[in-house]
C-alpha cells in the first residue's frame, strides 16, 4: 500500500507485550493519517467515561502519508489520547525524529495501552520492542532525560519523553522531543506519566513505501530549497513567530494581566526585535528550512527557546517584560514538561484570583521569582495551591469559587492561546469551537477580521473563514502530518500537498477531497465529545466570560469601551453550526454524518447521546 506502511504497533505496558496489526486501504483513505487515525481509533476503542489518567486510556502516536519523508516541514508527529484537561478528545503535534524513525521501523501508528508496574522506557527498533527500566531518570527533567537517552543511543534516534509534570499528572503536561520541541498540550504528557512511561525511543531502517520515491525525493528536496529561498526573501524567520507580538500590542490583542488588558507600553521589551537581538542559537524540527526556534540565555544562563505563545503568556500576561526572566519560566516549563501556554494562563489566573481575594496567597503580577517558585510547586504538586493549579484553571476555579471561573481563561478545560479576544469575535469563535478546547492551531482569523472583514462584525463571513481555516490547519496539516508554517507564514501554496500525496500514494486527490476528510474527522471528534458529555449544549462553545464583561473593557486604546456581546456571539456561533451542518447544541446532524460517510459512528454514539 504505497503512501502508508499499513501497520499499527500495539504495545501493552501491563503485560509487556507488543503486536503488529495491519490496517486496510479503506481505513487509510478514509482517515489519511495523524489526527484522522487517532480520532477514529480512540472513538472505536475507548469506552466513554474512562479515567484519562487510568490504564484504560490509550496513548497514540500517529503519522501521515508524507510524515518523515524529506519535503517541506514533514518532521512532525501527532500524539493523542483522551484528554486529562478536558475529558474529551485530545491531541497535539510536535516536531520529532519519531516521524521518520517510526515510519522507517514500519509503522504509521503506535498505540500504547495499560500501565507499567514501574517507570519504563519503550524502545522500538524495527520489529524489536523492549520495555526497559527508566527508574534512573524518573523524577528528572526532560533535558536530563533526553541527554540520558542520547548517551545510550546517539542523537539520530526518535525520542518522546516527559518531565516531572507528566510524572505528577499535571493535567496540561506535554510530551517533549529533540532539544526543544513539545506537543500534546491537552495533557498527553500526563497520559504518558499515568502509564509510568517515561520515554519512547524509536529507530528504523526500512524504506517508507511510496508510489514514486525518486519523484518524491526530487520534488521534496527542491521544495525544501524553495521554502528556504522564500523565507529568506520574506524574512519571516528573523523574528519568527514573535514578530506578531508588537502587532498584537498595537491592535489590542495582547494578553496582559490575565487578559484583563490588551496592550502595554513595555511590550516592546519582549518583542521580536529584542528576541532576535538576544538570539544565541536557532533551532528547527527535522525536514525544516525555515527554522523558527530562537534561543536566548535566560536569567540563570541557560538556553531557552522562545516563541510568541510562550512569551505572550509567560511575559505580558504575567506582567513580566524582561526576556531573560520570561526565558527562565519557559525553561522550567520545558524541563518539567508543562505546556507553556496553559502554564502561563493558570499562573495568571491564580494571580488574578489572589488579587480579587478569591484564592489564598500573596503572589503579585510582575514577580518573576515568585512565578518560578509557583511553577515548581505545580510541576511537583507541592502544597495545596500547587496541587490545585496542577489541575488546570477550570478545576482550580471550581476549587477557589467566588465566580473565579469567569476569568479562568479556558474553553472546555483547555487554556486559550496568546490572543486576547476581548473584542475579536471571530478569533473568540475559533477558540470556542476548537475541537480540543481553546487552541489557536485550528483557526487563526485575526488578520482576516481586521483586513478582509471588520472587527465589529459577527457575520457569517467570519464563521465561514473559521471553517476554511479549520479544514486546512486542523484538518489537512494534522492528518497529512506536516507543519503549517510554510503555508501560513511564507505563503507556500496548498496545492503542493495533493502533489506530495500523489507522489507517495499514487492517488490523484484534490484539495476539495481533503476538506471532506477534514470535516469527517471533526465530526467524529464531536461524537467523541458527545459520548463523554451527553448533556452538552452550545454554551460549551462559549469563550471565557470575562471577554463579555462590560466592567472589564479597555478604558483607552483602539477598543476602548468595547467587549464581546453574548447575543451577537451566539448568532455567530449559529452561523458556524449552520455552515457545518451541526444542530443547535453544536453536534453534527444525522444528515451531516451520512454525507461525510460516518453514519455508523453516529449510530454508535447514539447509545450515549441523542442525534438529530
Amino acid at each position: 500500500m504505497n503512501g502508508w506502511t499499513g501497520q499499527i504497533l500495539r504495545v501493552n505496558l501491563t503485560t509487556k507485550t507488543a503486536k503488529t496489526e495491519a490496517f486496510s486501504e479503506e481505513f487509510a483513505r478514509k482517515w489519511i493519517g495523524g489526527r484522522g487515525f487517532a480520532a477514529k481509533i480512540l472513538f472505536d476503542e475507548l469506552a466513554p467515561g474512562i479515567d484519562p489518567l487510568g490504564p484504560d486510556n490509550k496513548f497514540i502516536v500517529a503519522l501521515g502519508p508524507i510524515a518523515g519523508i524529506p519535503a517541506p516541514n514533514t518532521g512532525k508527529a501527532v500524539v493523542a489520547g483522551k484528554s486529562p484537561s478536558t475529558g474529551g478528545y485530545g491531541d497535539g503535534n510536535l516536531g520529532t525524529r519519531v516521524a521518520e524513525q517510526l515510519r522507517k521501523a514500519g509503522y504509521d501508528i503506535l498505540i500504547v495501552e495499560g500501565r507499567a508496574a514501574s517507570p519504563t522506557m519503550l524502545t522500538i527498533e524495527d520489529d524489536k520492542v523492549e520495555f526497559l527500566p527508566a527508574d534512573e531518570v524518573w523524577g528528572k527533567g526532560t533535558y536530563a532525560t533526553n541527554d540520558w537517552i542520547y548517551a545510550k543511543y546517539g542523537k539520530g534516534v526518535g525520542v518522546l519523553n516527559i518531565g516531572q509534570g507528566g510524572e505528577n499528572l499535571v493535567r496540561y503536561a506535554v510530551v517533549r522531543s529533540l532539544e526543544g520541541r513539545a506537543g500534546g498540550r491537552t495533557g498527553m504528557g500526563a497520559v504518558m506519566g499515568s502509564k509510568l512511561l517515561k520515554a519512547i525511543v524509536v529507530k528504523g531502517s526500512k524504506p517508507i513505501p511510496q508510489a514514486d520515491p525518486a519523484g518524491m525525493k526530487k520534488v521534496g528536496y527542491d521544495d525544501l530549497r524553495e521554502v528556504n529561498r522564500i523565507d529568506k526573501k520574506t524574512g519571516w524567520s528573523i523574528q519568527s513567530t514573535n514578530g506578531v507580538l508588537a502587532w498584537c500590542n498595537e491592535v489590542a490583542a495582547l494578553p496582559v494581566h490575565n487578559f484583563r488588558r490588551t496592550h502595554h507600553p513595555d511590550a516592546w521589551k519582549v518583542d521580536g526585535e529584542r528576541l532576535n537581538n538576544a538570539r544565541v542559537a536557532t533551532y528547527g524540527c527535522p525536514n525544516c528550512t525555515m527554522r523558527c526556534g530562537i534561543t536566548i540565555h535566560d536569567d540563570e544562563g541557560r538556553e531557552s527557546e522562545l516563541d510568541y505563545e510562550n512569551i505572550g503568556l509567560l511575559g505580558p500576561n504575567l506582567e513580566i517584560f524582561d526576556l531573560p526572566a520570561v526565558g527562565s519560566l519557559n525553561y522550567l516549563c520545558d524541563d518539567y514538561g508543562i505546556d507553556t501556554m496553559s502554564g502561563g494562563c493558570v499562573m495568571s489566573f491564580y494571580a488574578d484570583a489572589v488579587e480579587r481575594g478569591a484564592a489564598p496567597g500573596d503572589i503579585r503580577f510582575g514577580d518573576s521569582e515568585a512565578f518560578k517558585k509557583l511553577l515548581t510547586s505545580i510541576a511537583l504538586r507541592q502544597g495545596q495551591v500547587g496541587n490545585i493549579l496542577a489541575e488546570g484553571s477550570m478545576r482550580a476555579a471550581r476549587a477557589f469559587g467566588h465566580n473565579s471561573i469567569d476569568y479562568a481563561m479556558q474553553v472546555k478545560g483547555l487554556e486559550v492561546a496568546a490572543y486576547n479576544c476581548k473584542f475579536i469575535p471571530g478569533m473568540a469563535l475559533a477558540f470556542g469551537v476548537s475541537p480540543i478546547g481553546a487552541h489557536h492551531k485550528e483557526s487563526w482569523v485575526i488578520t482576516f477580521e481586521l483586513k478582509q472583514s471588520v472587527r465589529e462584525s459577527y457575520g457569517p463571513e467570519k464563521a465561514q473563514k473559521v471553517i476554511d481555516l479549520q479544514r486546512i490547519r486542523g484538518g489537512l496539516f494534522e492528518f497529512i502530518v506536516a507543519c503549517r508554517f510554510p503555508w501560513i507564514e511564507n505563503g507556500w501554496p496548498l496545492e503542493h500537498y495533493p502533489k506530495y500525496f500523489k507522489l507517495v500514494s499514487g492517488l490523484d486527490w484534490t484539495l476539495e477531497d481533503f476538506w471532506t476528510v477534514s470535516d469527517r474527522i471533526y465530526s467524529v471528534i464531536k461524537l467523541f465529545w458527545l459520548r463523554e458529555y451527553p448533556q452538552t449544549d452550545r454554551r460549551a462553545d462559549y469563550p471565557p466570560a470575562v471577554w463579555f464583561d462590560p466592567s472589564n473593557v479597555d478604558t483607552e486604546g483602539p477598543i476602548a469601551g468595547k467587549c464581546l456581546e453574548y447575543d451577537k456571539y451566539d448568532g455567530l456561533l449559529q452561523h458556524y453550526y449552520d455552515l457545518r451542518g451541526y444542530d443547535k447544541r453544536g453536534i453534527p446532524t444525522k444528515a451531516t454524518l451520512e454525507r461525510l460517510g460516518v453514519a455508523a459512528e453516529g449510530r454508535a454514539a447514539e447509545k450515549y447521546g441523542t442525534l438529530t
Partner: protein, 75 residues
C-alpha cells in the same frame, strides 16, 4: 502634520527602521505614507491606524500612529 510609523516583524530588518516620526502634508493617505517610507507596495501587508485597519486611500490625521505589518497567519 506629524505621523508616527511603526514597522512590524521582518519589515524592521527589510526596510531599515523600527519606528519613525514623519512630517507629512495634510491630506496624506495611508497609501501615500507607504510610498514615503519606501515599503514595497506589492508586498502583502496589513496597515492599521491607531490600532484599527485602514484602506489605502484613507486620509490620515495629525498625531496618527500607523503600523505596517506583514500578514501574519498565526503560530
Amino acid at each position: 502634520m506629524k505621523i508616527t510609523v511603526k514597522l512590524i516583524g521582518p519589515f524592521v530588518q527589510l526596510f531599515g527602521f523600527s519606528e519613525k516620526a514623519l512630517d507629512v502634508p495634510p491630506g496624506t493617505t495611508a497609501d501615500d505614507l507607504i510610498g514615503l517610507v519606501s515599503i514595497d507596495k506589492a508586498r502583502p501587508k496589513i496597515v492599521t491606524r491607531n490600532g484599527r485597519a485602514v484602506v489605502p486611500d484613507e486620509a490620515l490625521s495629525d498625531g496618527d500612529r500607523v503600523v505596517i505589518s506583514p500578514i501574519y497567519s498565526g503560530g
